[in-house]
Amino acid sequence: MAKVLMKGNEAIAEAAIQAGCRYFFGYPITPQNEIPAYMAKMLPKVGGSFIQAESEVSAINMVYGAAGAGGRVMTSSSSPGISLKQEGISYIAGAELPCLIVNIVRGGPGLGGIQPAQSDYFQAVKGGGHGDYRVVVLAPAGIQEMADLVIDAFDIADRYRNPVMIMGDGMLGQMMEPVEFAKKEVTISEKPWATIGNKEGKPRNIINSLFLDTQDMENHVLKLFEKYKEIEKNEVRVECYNCEDAEIIIAAYGTTARIAKNVIQKAGAQGIKVGLIRPITLWPFPTDVFKKWAEADHVKSFLTVEMSMGQMIEDVRLSIKDTKPVHFYGRTGGMVPLPGDLLKEIIKIRGEK
Protein backbone atom coordinates (compact mmCIF):
# COMPACT_ATOMS: atom_id res chain seq x y z
CA MET A 1 0.00 0.00 0.00
CA ALA A 2 1.27 3.46 -0.89
CA LYS A 3 2.21 6.07 1.64
CA VAL A 4 -0.45 8.55 2.65
CA LEU A 5 -0.15 11.81 4.52
CA MET A 6 -2.03 11.67 7.81
CA LYS A 7 -2.35 13.42 11.11
CA GLY A 8 -1.13 11.36 14.04
CA ASN A 9 -4.65 11.20 15.45
CA GLU A 10 -6.06 9.95 12.16
CA ALA A 11 -3.28 7.40 11.80
CA ILE A 12 -4.08 6.02 15.25
CA ALA A 13 -7.73 5.64 14.32
CA GLU A 14 -7.05 4.04 10.94
CA ALA A 15 -4.50 1.67 12.44
CA ALA A 16 -7.00 0.67 15.12
CA ILE A 17 -9.60 -0.19 12.52
CA GLN A 18 -7.03 -2.18 10.57
CA ALA A 19 -6.10 -3.97 13.78
CA GLY A 20 -9.70 -5.15 14.05
CA CYS A 21 -10.85 -2.66 16.68
CA ARG A 22 -14.62 -2.41 16.30
CA TYR A 23 -15.67 -0.53 19.43
CA PHE A 24 -14.81 3.02 20.39
CA PHE A 25 -16.18 5.00 23.32
CA GLY A 26 -14.99 8.55 23.87
CA TYR A 27 -15.74 12.11 24.80
CA PRO A 28 -14.60 15.28 23.00
CA ILE A 29 -11.44 16.98 24.22
CA THR A 30 -8.68 18.85 22.38
CA PRO A 31 -6.17 17.89 20.97
CA GLN A 32 -7.40 14.36 20.20
CA ASN A 33 -10.74 15.09 18.52
CA GLU A 34 -9.71 13.65 15.16
CA ILE A 35 -9.65 10.16 16.69
CA PRO A 36 -13.33 9.94 17.70
CA ALA A 37 -14.37 11.80 14.55
CA TYR A 38 -12.55 9.25 12.40
CA MET A 39 -13.99 6.35 14.35
CA ALA A 40 -17.51 7.80 14.21
CA LYS A 41 -17.18 7.94 10.45
CA MET A 42 -15.49 4.61 9.83
CA LEU A 43 -16.73 2.16 12.47
CA PRO A 44 -20.32 1.90 11.17
CA LYS A 45 -18.87 1.01 7.76
CA VAL A 46 -17.07 -2.02 9.17
CA GLY A 47 -19.85 -3.25 11.41
CA GLY A 48 -18.48 -1.61 14.52
CA SER A 49 -19.99 0.64 17.13
CA PHE A 50 -19.08 4.19 18.17
CA ILE A 51 -20.54 6.05 21.12
CA GLN A 52 -19.86 9.60 22.18
CA ALA A 53 -20.36 8.89 25.85
CA GLU A 54 -21.82 11.29 28.41
CA SER A 55 -18.43 11.59 30.10
CA GLU A 56 -14.95 10.12 30.09
CA VAL A 57 -15.98 8.12 33.16
CA SER A 58 -18.80 6.52 31.21
CA ALA A 59 -16.62 6.04 28.15
CA ILE A 60 -14.00 4.01 30.00
CA ASN A 61 -16.72 1.97 31.70
CA MET A 62 -18.21 1.19 28.29
CA VAL A 63 -14.71 0.05 27.33
CA TYR A 64 -14.72 -2.10 30.48
CA GLY A 65 -18.02 -3.70 29.46
CA ALA A 66 -17.08 -4.20 25.82
CA ALA A 67 -13.70 -5.68 26.74
CA GLY A 68 -15.38 -8.07 29.16
CA ALA A 69 -17.72 -9.17 26.39
CA GLY A 70 -14.68 -9.98 24.25
CA GLY A 71 -14.69 -6.96 21.94
CA ARG A 72 -11.53 -5.36 20.55
CA VAL A 73 -12.07 -1.94 22.03
CA MET A 74 -10.39 1.40 22.61
CA THR A 75 -10.89 4.91 23.90
CA SER A 76 -8.89 8.08 23.50
CA SER A 77 -8.68 11.31 25.39
CA SER A 78 -6.30 14.00 26.57
CA SER A 79 -4.88 14.66 30.01
CA PRO A 80 -7.90 15.95 32.03
CA GLY A 81 -10.06 13.29 30.40
CA ILE A 82 -7.51 10.58 31.17
CA SER A 83 -7.65 11.60 34.83
CA LEU A 84 -11.38 10.89 34.74
CA LYS A 85 -10.76 7.51 33.13
CA GLN A 86 -8.45 6.35 35.90
CA GLU A 87 -11.29 4.69 37.80
CA GLY A 88 -12.11 2.47 34.85
CA ILE A 89 -8.47 1.79 34.03
CA SER A 90 -7.92 0.46 37.54
CA TYR A 91 -10.96 -1.83 37.21
CA ILE A 92 -9.87 -3.02 33.77
CA ALA A 93 -6.39 -3.79 35.08
CA GLY A 94 -7.86 -5.49 38.15
CA ALA A 95 -10.30 -7.57 36.12
CA GLU A 96 -7.52 -8.33 33.60
CA LEU A 97 -9.16 -7.14 30.43
CA PRO A 98 -7.47 -6.07 27.19
CA CYS A 99 -8.07 -2.63 25.72
CA LEU A 100 -6.26 0.34 24.23
CA ILE A 101 -6.29 3.79 25.83
CA VAL A 102 -4.78 6.70 23.92
CA ASN A 103 -3.62 9.82 25.74
CA ILE A 104 -2.77 12.78 23.52
CA VAL A 105 -1.18 14.73 26.33
CA ARG A 106 -1.67 18.47 26.90
CA GLY A 107 -0.24 20.82 29.50
CA GLY A 108 -1.47 20.72 33.09
CA PRO A 109 -2.27 20.48 35.98
CA GLY A 110 -5.97 21.26 36.13
CA LEU A 111 -7.68 22.33 32.98
CA GLY A 112 -4.20 23.31 31.83
CA GLY A 113 -3.74 24.19 28.19
CA ILE A 114 -4.18 22.42 24.90
CA GLN A 115 -0.60 22.51 23.66
CA PRO A 116 1.71 19.48 23.71
CA ALA A 117 3.18 18.24 26.98
CA GLN A 118 4.66 15.14 28.60
CA SER A 119 3.54 15.89 32.12
CA ASP A 120 1.30 12.80 32.42
CA TYR A 121 4.29 10.44 32.63
CA PHE A 122 3.87 9.72 36.33
CA GLN A 123 0.15 9.15 35.91
CA ALA A 124 0.72 6.76 33.01
CA VAL A 125 3.62 4.66 34.30
CA LYS A 126 3.27 4.83 38.08
CA GLY A 127 -0.30 3.67 38.32
CA GLY A 128 -2.68 6.57 37.76
CA GLY A 129 -5.67 4.93 39.37
CA HIS A 130 -5.89 3.18 42.72
CA GLY A 131 -4.30 -0.10 43.65
CA ASP A 132 -1.35 -2.29 42.72
CA TYR A 133 -1.32 -2.49 38.96
CA ARG A 134 0.57 -1.62 35.81
CA VAL A 135 -0.43 -0.40 32.39
CA VAL A 136 1.84 -1.01 29.39
CA VAL A 137 2.71 2.46 28.07
CA LEU A 138 3.92 2.95 24.51
CA ALA A 139 5.39 6.28 23.40
CA PRO A 140 5.62 6.77 19.64
CA ALA A 141 7.79 9.54 18.19
CA GLY A 142 6.35 9.71 14.69
CA ILE A 143 3.20 9.03 12.76
CA GLN A 144 4.37 5.75 11.23
CA GLU A 145 5.36 4.52 14.65
CA MET A 146 2.01 5.62 16.06
CA ALA A 147 0.23 3.46 13.51
CA ASP A 148 2.55 0.49 14.03
CA LEU A 149 2.29 0.66 17.81
CA VAL A 150 -1.51 0.76 17.75
CA ILE A 151 -1.54 -2.59 15.99
CA ASP A 152 1.02 -4.01 18.42
CA ALA A 153 -0.83 -2.50 21.39
CA PHE A 154 -3.97 -4.55 20.77
CA ASP A 155 -1.91 -7.74 20.52
CA ILE A 156 0.01 -6.98 23.70
CA ALA A 157 -3.27 -6.20 25.47
CA ASP A 158 -4.77 -9.52 24.38
CA ARG A 159 -1.64 -11.54 25.12
CA TYR A 160 -1.42 -10.35 28.72
CA ARG A 161 -5.08 -9.45 29.29
CA ASN A 162 -3.98 -5.98 30.34
CA PRO A 163 -4.78 -2.41 29.34
CA VAL A 164 -2.21 -0.77 27.06
CA MET A 165 -1.79 2.97 26.76
CA ILE A 166 -0.39 4.89 23.84
CA MET A 167 0.94 8.20 25.06
CA GLY A 168 1.44 10.88 22.45
CA ASP A 169 1.10 14.61 22.78
CA GLY A 170 -0.68 17.43 21.00
CA MET A 171 2.10 17.79 18.49
CA LEU A 172 2.18 14.13 17.50
CA GLY A 173 -1.60 14.08 17.36
CA GLN A 174 -1.88 17.11 15.12
CA MET A 175 1.14 16.82 12.84
CA MET A 176 1.08 15.08 9.49
CA GLU A 177 3.72 12.72 8.18
CA PRO A 178 3.71 10.01 5.55
CA VAL A 179 2.44 6.70 6.84
CA GLU A 180 2.07 3.30 5.28
CA PHE A 181 -0.33 0.65 6.49
CA ALA A 182 0.95 -2.86 6.20
CA LYS A 183 -2.53 -4.37 5.64
CA LYS A 184 -1.66 -7.61 7.29
CA GLU A 185 -4.20 -10.25 8.22
CA VAL A 186 -5.51 -9.69 11.70
CA THR A 187 -5.90 -12.69 13.92
CA ILE A 188 -7.62 -11.95 17.18
CA SER A 189 -7.06 -14.61 19.78
CA GLU A 190 -9.94 -16.53 21.34
CA LYS A 191 -11.34 -15.10 24.56
CA PRO A 192 -12.84 -18.04 26.43
CA TRP A 193 -13.14 -15.89 29.56
CA ALA A 194 -15.50 -13.34 27.98
CA THR A 195 -19.04 -12.86 29.28
CA ILE A 196 -21.03 -13.86 26.24
CA GLY A 197 -23.67 -16.03 27.88
CA ASN A 198 -23.24 -19.16 29.98
CA LYS A 199 -23.87 -22.25 27.90
CA GLU A 200 -25.26 -25.24 29.79
CA GLY A 201 -22.49 -27.39 31.21
CA LYS A 202 -19.77 -24.76 30.78
CA PRO A 203 -18.27 -22.82 33.68
CA ARG A 204 -19.78 -19.40 34.25
CA ASN A 205 -17.67 -16.37 33.28
CA ILE A 206 -17.41 -13.53 35.75
CA ILE A 207 -15.55 -10.27 35.11
CA ASN A 208 -14.59 -8.96 38.50
CA SER A 209 -12.02 -7.09 40.54
CA LEU A 210 -13.60 -7.55 43.97
CA PHE A 211 -11.82 -9.74 46.49
CA LEU A 212 -13.18 -9.27 50.00
CA ASP A 213 -10.93 -11.95 51.45
CA THR A 214 -7.52 -10.37 52.02
CA GLN A 215 -5.62 -13.52 51.13
CA ASP A 216 -7.58 -13.80 47.88
CA MET A 217 -6.85 -10.17 47.15
CA GLU A 218 -3.14 -10.59 47.80
CA ASN A 219 -3.05 -13.73 45.68
CA HIS A 220 -4.74 -11.89 42.86
CA VAL A 221 -2.21 -9.04 42.99
CA LEU A 222 0.67 -11.51 43.16
CA LYS A 223 -0.71 -13.16 40.06
CA LEU A 224 -0.90 -9.78 38.34
CA PHE A 225 2.72 -9.09 39.23
CA GLU A 226 3.84 -12.46 37.87
CA LYS A 227 2.28 -11.29 34.64
CA TYR A 228 3.98 -7.88 34.88
CA LYS A 229 7.32 -9.65 35.32
CA GLU A 230 6.69 -11.45 32.03
CA ILE A 231 5.84 -8.15 30.37
CA GLU A 232 9.04 -6.59 31.73
CA LYS A 233 10.99 -9.54 30.35
CA ASN A 234 9.38 -9.63 26.90
CA GLU A 235 8.04 -6.26 25.88
CA VAL A 236 10.73 -3.62 26.47
CA ARG A 237 11.25 -1.48 23.39
CA VAL A 238 13.89 1.19 23.04
CA GLU A 239 15.83 3.01 20.35
CA CYS A 240 19.49 3.87 20.84
CA TYR A 241 20.78 6.54 18.51
CA ASN A 242 24.43 7.61 18.24
CA CYS A 243 25.29 6.11 21.62
CA GLU A 244 28.39 4.21 20.48
CA ASP A 245 30.85 7.01 21.15
CA ALA A 246 28.65 9.53 22.93
CA GLU A 247 30.00 11.51 25.86
CA ILE A 248 26.55 12.75 26.75
CA ILE A 249 23.45 10.60 26.35
CA ILE A 250 20.08 12.28 26.13
CA ALA A 251 17.10 10.38 27.53
CA ALA A 252 13.92 11.47 25.80
CA TYR A 253 10.76 9.97 24.35
CA GLY A 254 8.15 11.04 21.82
CA THR A 255 8.32 14.65 20.69
CA THR A 256 11.36 15.55 22.77
CA ALA A 257 13.27 12.63 21.26
CA ARG A 258 12.66 14.10 17.81
CA ILE A 259 14.04 17.44 18.95
CA ALA A 260 16.97 15.66 20.56
CA LYS A 261 17.87 14.08 17.21
CA ASN A 262 18.05 17.53 15.60
CA VAL A 263 20.29 18.72 18.39
CA ILE A 264 22.51 15.64 18.25
CA GLN A 265 23.28 16.47 14.62
CA LYS A 266 23.98 20.11 15.44
CA ALA A 267 26.19 19.13 18.37
CA GLY A 268 28.02 16.63 16.18
CA ALA A 269 28.80 19.41 13.72
CA GLN A 270 30.49 21.24 16.62
CA GLY A 271 32.44 18.13 17.59
CA ILE A 272 30.31 17.24 20.60
CA LYS A 273 29.33 13.60 20.66
CA VAL A 274 25.81 13.21 21.92
CA GLY A 275 23.64 10.09 21.84
CA LEU A 276 20.01 9.35 22.54
CA ILE A 277 18.23 6.61 24.41
CA ARG A 278 14.59 6.77 23.42
CA PRO A 279 12.31 4.56 25.48
CA ILE A 280 9.45 3.36 23.27
CA THR A 281 7.92 1.51 26.19
CA LEU A 282 7.75 3.88 29.17
CA TRP A 283 6.53 0.92 31.16
CA PRO A 284 8.20 -1.51 31.06
CA PHE A 285 11.12 0.95 31.23
CA PRO A 286 14.34 0.01 29.39
CA THR A 287 16.34 -0.08 32.61
CA ASP A 288 18.96 -2.52 31.34
CA VAL A 289 19.76 -0.40 28.31
CA PHE A 290 20.38 2.64 30.50
CA LYS A 291 22.52 0.51 32.83
CA LYS A 292 24.57 -0.79 29.92
CA TRP A 293 25.38 2.66 28.54
CA ALA A 294 26.02 4.05 32.01
CA GLU A 295 28.79 1.46 32.34
CA ALA A 296 30.51 2.66 29.15
CA ASP A 297 33.61 4.76 29.88
CA HIS A 298 32.97 7.21 27.04
CA VAL A 299 29.61 8.20 28.52
CA LYS A 300 30.28 11.00 30.99
CA SER A 301 26.74 12.06 31.81
CA PHE A 302 23.07 11.78 30.98
CA LEU A 303 20.63 14.55 30.12
CA THR A 304 16.93 13.87 30.45
CA VAL A 305 14.82 16.10 28.24
CA GLU A 306 11.09 16.27 28.86
CA MET A 307 8.13 18.52 28.29
CA SER A 308 7.50 18.51 32.04
CA MET A 309 9.34 19.54 35.18
CA GLY A 310 11.08 16.17 35.21
CA GLN A 311 9.22 12.91 35.60
CA MET A 312 10.95 10.24 33.51
CA ILE A 313 14.23 11.45 35.03
CA GLU A 314 13.30 9.47 38.15
CA ASP A 315 13.31 6.24 36.16
CA VAL A 316 16.58 7.18 34.49
CA ARG A 317 18.14 7.75 37.91
CA LEU A 318 16.69 4.52 39.28
CA SER A 319 18.13 2.69 36.29
CA ILE A 320 21.70 3.95 36.46
CA LYS A 321 21.82 4.56 40.23
CA ASP A 322 24.59 7.07 40.99
CA THR A 323 27.05 5.80 38.41
CA LYS A 324 26.90 8.93 36.23
CA PRO A 325 25.45 12.42 36.69
CA VAL A 326 21.92 12.87 35.35
CA HIS A 327 21.07 16.39 34.21
CA PHE A 328 17.66 17.70 33.28
CA TYR A 329 16.31 20.09 30.71
CA GLY A 330 12.59 20.64 30.33
CA ARG A 331 9.89 23.00 29.25
CA THR A 332 6.38 22.60 30.50
CA GLY A 333 2.81 23.87 30.23
CA GLY A 334 2.66 23.35 26.47
CA MET A 335 6.05 24.83 25.62
CA VAL A 336 8.18 22.72 23.32
CA PRO A 337 11.97 22.87 23.84
CA LEU A 338 13.83 24.78 21.13
CA PRO A 339 16.75 22.93 19.57
CA GLY A 340 18.98 25.97 20.10
CA ASP A 341 18.25 26.08 23.83
CA LEU A 342 18.86 22.38 24.21
CA LEU A 343 22.20 22.73 22.41
CA LYS A 344 23.18 25.50 24.83
CA GLU A 345 22.32 23.20 27.71
CA ILE A 346 24.56 20.50 26.28
CA ILE A 347 27.43 22.94 25.87
CA LYS A 348 26.90 24.10 29.44
CA ILE A 349 26.94 20.55 30.81
CA ARG A 350 30.10 19.84 28.90
CA GLY A 351 31.73 22.95 30.31
CA GLU A 352 30.86 21.91 33.85
CA LYS A 353 32.98 18.80 33.71
Partner: protein, 245 residues
Amino acid sequence: MAKVFEKPKALTGKPNHYCPGCTHGIVHRLVAEAIDDLGIRENTVGVAPVGCAVLAYEYFNVDMHEAAHGRAPAVATGIKRVLPDNVVFTYQGDGDLASIGTAEIVHAANRGEKLTTIFINNAIYGMTGGQMAPTSLLGQVTATSPYGRSAETEGHPIRMSEMLATIEGTAYVERVSLHDIKNILKAKKAIKKAFEVQIAGKGFAMVEILSTCPTNWGMAPAEALKWVKDNMIPYYPLGVKKEVV
Protein backbone atom coordinates in the same frame (compact mmCIF):
# COMPACT_ATOMS: atom_id res chain seq x y z
CA MET B 1 -46.09 -35.09 42.73
CA ALA B 2 -45.00 -31.96 40.91
CA LYS B 3 -42.58 -29.72 42.69
CA VAL B 4 -44.13 -26.35 43.42
CA PHE B 5 -41.10 -24.69 44.88
CA GLU B 6 -37.84 -25.17 43.15
CA LYS B 7 -34.65 -23.14 42.77
CA PRO B 8 -34.72 -21.23 39.48
CA LYS B 9 -32.00 -22.33 37.05
CA ALA B 10 -30.85 -18.72 36.84
CA LEU B 11 -29.79 -18.76 40.51
CA THR B 12 -26.63 -20.54 41.61
CA GLY B 13 -28.17 -21.61 44.89
CA LYS B 14 -25.28 -20.17 46.86
CA PRO B 15 -26.59 -18.94 50.22
CA ASN B 16 -26.76 -15.16 50.06
CA HIS B 17 -25.28 -12.67 52.48
CA TYR B 18 -28.34 -10.44 52.78
CA CYS B 19 -29.66 -9.50 56.22
CA PRO B 20 -32.79 -11.15 57.64
CA GLY B 21 -35.89 -9.51 56.22
CA CYS B 22 -34.03 -7.82 53.36
CA THR B 23 -35.97 -7.98 50.08
CA HIS B 24 -32.90 -8.40 47.83
CA GLY B 25 -33.37 -12.16 48.02
CA ILE B 26 -36.94 -11.88 46.72
CA VAL B 27 -35.86 -9.67 43.82
CA HIS B 28 -33.03 -12.05 42.92
CA ARG B 29 -35.58 -14.84 42.75
CA LEU B 30 -38.02 -12.80 40.66
CA VAL B 31 -35.30 -11.83 38.20
CA ALA B 32 -34.11 -15.43 37.96
CA GLU B 33 -37.67 -16.69 37.41
CA ALA B 34 -38.18 -14.16 34.62
CA ILE B 35 -34.95 -15.32 32.98
CA ASP B 36 -36.05 -18.95 33.28
CA ASP B 37 -39.57 -18.22 32.03
CA LEU B 38 -38.19 -16.50 28.96
CA GLY B 39 -35.62 -19.24 28.36
CA ILE B 40 -32.76 -16.75 28.08
CA ARG B 41 -30.39 -17.99 30.79
CA GLU B 42 -27.67 -19.04 28.37
CA ASN B 43 -27.94 -15.77 26.52
CA THR B 44 -27.99 -13.33 29.42
CA VAL B 45 -25.20 -11.20 30.84
CA GLY B 46 -25.81 -9.45 34.15
CA VAL B 47 -24.04 -6.41 35.51
CA ALA B 48 -23.65 -6.23 39.28
CA PRO B 49 -23.41 -2.88 41.08
CA VAL B 50 -21.53 -1.57 44.07
CA GLY B 51 -23.76 -1.66 47.10
CA CYS B 52 -25.45 -4.50 48.96
CA ALA B 53 -25.88 -6.41 45.70
CA VAL B 54 -22.15 -6.17 44.95
CA LEU B 55 -21.92 -9.95 45.21
CA ALA B 56 -24.89 -10.55 42.89
CA TYR B 57 -22.45 -12.24 40.51
CA GLU B 58 -22.21 -15.03 43.07
CA TYR B 59 -25.98 -15.58 43.02
CA PHE B 60 -27.19 -15.17 39.44
CA ASN B 61 -26.35 -18.24 37.43
CA VAL B 62 -25.54 -16.29 34.28
CA ASP B 63 -22.34 -14.67 32.98
CA MET B 64 -21.78 -11.64 35.18
CA HIS B 65 -19.74 -8.45 35.05
CA GLU B 66 -19.00 -6.52 38.23
CA ALA B 67 -19.13 -2.76 37.57
CA ALA B 68 -17.77 0.24 39.42
CA HIS B 69 -20.19 2.22 41.61
CA GLY B 70 -22.89 3.76 39.43
CA ARG B 71 -21.32 2.68 36.13
CA ALA B 72 -23.41 -0.42 35.48
CA PRO B 73 -25.41 1.20 32.65
CA ALA B 74 -22.17 2.24 30.91
CA VAL B 75 -20.67 -1.23 31.36
CA ALA B 76 -23.92 -2.79 30.13
CA THR B 77 -23.87 -0.46 27.13
CA GLY B 78 -20.38 -1.67 26.22
CA ILE B 79 -21.47 -5.30 26.57
CA LYS B 80 -24.63 -4.79 24.54
CA ARG B 81 -22.74 -3.09 21.71
CA VAL B 82 -20.49 -6.12 21.40
CA LEU B 83 -23.34 -8.61 21.91
CA PRO B 84 -26.49 -7.01 20.46
CA ASP B 85 -28.27 -10.38 20.41
CA ASN B 86 -27.69 -11.09 24.09
CA VAL B 87 -29.92 -9.99 26.94
CA VAL B 88 -28.12 -7.61 29.27
CA PHE B 89 -29.41 -6.42 32.63
CA THR B 90 -28.11 -4.21 35.40
CA TYR B 91 -29.05 -4.63 39.05
CA GLN B 92 -28.54 -1.39 40.95
CA GLY B 93 -29.40 0.21 44.25
CA ASP B 94 -30.45 3.77 44.95
CA GLY B 95 -27.00 5.09 45.80
CA ASP B 96 -25.61 3.44 42.70
CA LEU B 97 -28.33 4.46 40.25
CA ALA B 98 -29.82 7.62 41.72
CA SER B 99 -26.69 9.29 43.09
CA ILE B 100 -23.24 8.44 41.74
CA GLY B 101 -24.61 6.89 38.55
CA THR B 102 -27.21 9.45 37.48
CA ALA B 103 -25.29 10.43 34.34
CA GLU B 104 -24.88 6.81 33.30
CA ILE B 105 -28.52 5.80 33.80
CA VAL B 106 -29.96 8.95 32.22
CA HIS B 107 -27.81 8.66 29.11
CA ALA B 108 -28.18 4.91 28.72
CA ALA B 109 -31.93 5.52 28.75
CA ASN B 110 -31.58 8.48 26.44
CA ARG B 111 -29.63 6.45 23.90
CA GLY B 112 -32.47 3.97 24.09
CA GLU B 113 -30.00 1.22 24.98
CA LYS B 114 -31.77 -2.12 24.85
CA LEU B 115 -31.07 -2.92 28.47
CA THR B 116 -33.11 -4.00 31.47
CA THR B 117 -32.41 -2.24 34.73
CA ILE B 118 -33.56 -3.57 38.08
CA PHE B 119 -33.53 -0.63 40.46
CA ILE B 120 -33.73 -1.36 44.17
CA ASN B 121 -35.01 1.67 46.07
CA ASN B 122 -34.77 1.13 49.82
CA ALA B 123 -34.17 4.75 50.69
CA ILE B 124 -30.78 4.13 52.28
CA TYR B 125 -27.17 3.04 51.70
CA GLY B 126 -27.07 -0.46 53.09
CA MET B 127 -23.57 -1.76 52.39
CA THR B 128 -21.72 1.20 53.86
CA GLY B 129 -23.84 1.30 57.00
CA GLY B 130 -27.04 3.28 56.65
CA GLN B 131 -26.12 6.63 55.13
CA MET B 132 -28.66 8.93 53.52
CA ALA B 133 -29.60 8.01 49.96
CA PRO B 134 -30.93 10.42 47.33
CA THR B 135 -34.19 8.53 47.80
CA SER B 136 -34.28 8.80 51.61
CA LEU B 137 -37.54 10.36 52.71
CA LEU B 138 -37.86 13.78 54.31
CA GLY B 139 -37.34 13.46 58.03
CA GLN B 140 -35.68 10.05 57.65
CA VAL B 141 -32.89 9.60 60.17
CA THR B 142 -29.75 8.01 58.76
CA ALA B 143 -26.07 7.93 59.68
CA THR B 144 -25.49 11.06 57.61
CA SER B 145 -28.81 12.77 58.28
CA PRO B 146 -28.86 12.29 62.06
CA TYR B 147 -31.45 15.03 62.55
CA GLY B 148 -33.67 13.71 59.77
CA ARG B 149 -33.42 14.57 56.10
CA SER B 150 -34.27 18.21 55.55
CA ALA B 151 -35.41 19.55 52.18
CA GLU B 152 -33.54 22.75 52.88
CA THR B 153 -30.13 21.19 53.29
CA GLU B 154 -30.42 17.79 51.58
CA GLY B 155 -33.11 18.44 49.00
CA HIS B 156 -36.13 16.31 48.30
CA PRO B 157 -36.06 12.57 47.62
CA ILE B 158 -35.52 11.93 43.92
CA ARG B 159 -38.12 10.10 41.83
CA MET B 160 -36.06 8.26 39.23
CA SER B 161 -38.89 6.42 37.49
CA GLU B 162 -40.80 9.62 36.79
CA MET B 163 -37.61 11.31 35.62
CA LEU B 164 -36.63 8.48 33.29
CA ALA B 165 -40.19 8.27 31.97
CA THR B 166 -39.69 11.71 30.40
CA ILE B 167 -36.87 10.36 28.25
CA GLU B 168 -37.59 9.44 24.63
CA GLY B 169 -35.32 6.39 24.70
CA THR B 170 -37.17 4.83 27.63
CA ALA B 171 -39.58 2.16 26.40
CA TYR B 172 -40.85 0.91 29.72
CA VAL B 173 -40.61 2.03 33.31
CA GLU B 174 -42.70 0.85 36.22
CA ARG B 175 -42.48 1.23 39.99
CA VAL B 176 -43.49 -1.76 42.08
CA SER B 177 -43.31 -2.72 45.73
CA LEU B 178 -42.65 -5.89 47.70
CA HIS B 179 -44.65 -5.13 50.83
CA ASP B 180 -47.22 -7.93 50.29
CA ILE B 181 -47.83 -11.01 48.14
CA LYS B 182 -50.12 -9.21 45.70
CA ASN B 183 -47.46 -6.61 45.02
CA ILE B 184 -44.70 -9.20 44.77
CA LEU B 185 -46.68 -10.87 41.98
CA LYS B 186 -47.04 -7.51 40.26
CA ALA B 187 -43.30 -6.99 40.61
CA LYS B 188 -42.69 -10.36 39.02
CA LYS B 189 -44.80 -9.42 36.03
CA ALA B 190 -43.07 -6.06 35.69
CA ILE B 191 -39.61 -7.62 35.77
CA LYS B 192 -40.57 -10.13 33.10
CA LYS B 193 -41.99 -7.35 30.97
CA ALA B 194 -38.78 -5.32 31.35
CA PHE B 195 -36.90 -8.25 29.80
CA GLU B 196 -39.49 -8.70 27.07
CA VAL B 197 -39.21 -5.04 26.12
CA GLN B 198 -35.46 -5.49 25.68
CA ILE B 199 -35.86 -8.67 23.67
CA ALA B 200 -38.38 -6.91 21.41
CA GLY B 201 -35.77 -4.20 20.84
CA LYS B 202 -38.09 -1.43 21.96
CA GLY B 203 -35.60 0.51 24.05
CA PHE B 204 -34.54 1.04 27.61
CA ALA B 205 -36.59 -0.69 30.33
CA MET B 206 -36.46 -0.24 34.09
CA VAL B 207 -38.36 -1.56 37.08
CA GLU B 208 -38.01 0.40 40.30
CA ILE B 209 -38.66 -1.84 43.26
CA LEU B 210 -39.52 -0.31 46.64
CA SER B 211 -37.59 -2.48 49.05
CA THR B 212 -36.77 -2.76 52.70
CA CYS B 213 -33.62 -2.45 54.76
CA PRO B 214 -34.68 -3.58 58.23
CA THR B 215 -31.11 -3.51 59.53
CA ASN B 216 -30.33 0.08 58.66
CA TRP B 217 -33.85 1.32 59.19
CA GLY B 218 -33.68 -0.18 62.68
CA MET B 219 -36.94 -2.10 62.26
CA ALA B 220 -38.21 -5.63 62.42
CA PRO B 221 -38.88 -7.13 58.96
CA ALA B 222 -42.69 -6.92 59.26
CA GLU B 223 -42.45 -3.36 60.53
CA ALA B 224 -40.21 -2.50 57.58
CA LEU B 225 -42.78 -3.80 55.07
CA LYS B 226 -45.40 -1.66 56.75
CA TRP B 227 -43.06 1.35 56.54
CA VAL B 228 -42.79 0.87 52.78
CA LYS B 229 -46.56 0.87 52.49
CA ASP B 230 -47.19 3.77 54.86
CA ASN B 231 -44.27 6.04 54.04
CA MET B 232 -42.64 5.17 50.75
CA ILE B 233 -45.62 4.48 48.52
CA PRO B 234 -47.31 7.83 49.23
CA TYR B 235 -44.15 9.59 48.00
CA TYR B 236 -43.23 7.03 45.35
CA PRO B 237 -46.54 6.11 43.71
CA LEU B 238 -46.66 2.66 42.18
CA GLY B 239 -47.55 1.91 38.60
CA VAL B 240 -46.41 2.08 34.99
CA LYS B 241 -44.76 5.44 34.34
CA LYS B 242 -44.15 4.84 30.68
CA GLU B 243 -44.80 2.06 28.25
CA VAL B 244 -44.15 2.17 24.53
CA VAL B 245 -46.43 -0.32 22.81
